[in-house]
Symmetry: C2
Subunit: 91 residues, 2 copies
């Protein structure tokens, strides 16, 4: 279902693109709860840009899985987590 | 053409996925020439991971354009360039 919507979106269906964007932004915003809990525990400084943190984790993996097909290995995962911590102001 | 291949790839066509991955990796490796020239001019330190630099520029924009549909604005572009410079060991 998500795959079919994604295909329609890439094929230029604007209405589907809008719905899919809304779906993903909704998914992201639910993950912000986890980030806010880490802030409350003092594990992260107060966050200015939740999207930047989540994107650092998610966008490169999507890109490797669907575009470049470069390996998603341990070094890659460590880099993504490191970048997310930078985006969270932790490093 | 690229769009049709991309759709076939997402729909699970492994052969198309492999070809498309090869295409993208070829495109990336040509952009490495620019990075190497910057190294030769002394503008970047010698690069260990070209993929990391190019991905920092490309993957988030791809993700916003095709998945989250979040705005690709000035702040976003600055963040991506900043991340690419970090990946290049410049910051």
């Amino acid at each position: 279902m998500t795959q079919a919507l994604f295909v329609a979106s890439i094929e230029g269906d604007e209405a589907v693109s809008d719905v899919l964007g809304e779906f993903w932004r909704g998914r992201f915003s639910r993950s912000y709860v986890m980030l806010e809990r880490a802030v409350q525990r003092g594990e992260l400084p107060p966050l200015l840009d939740h999207d930047a943190v989540v994107e650092a984790l998610v966008a490169p993996a999507w890109f490797r899985a669907f575009v470049s097909r470069l390996p998603i290995n341990e070094a890659f995962r460590r880099r993504c987590v490191g970048n997310a911590l930078v985006m969270a102001g932790k490093r």
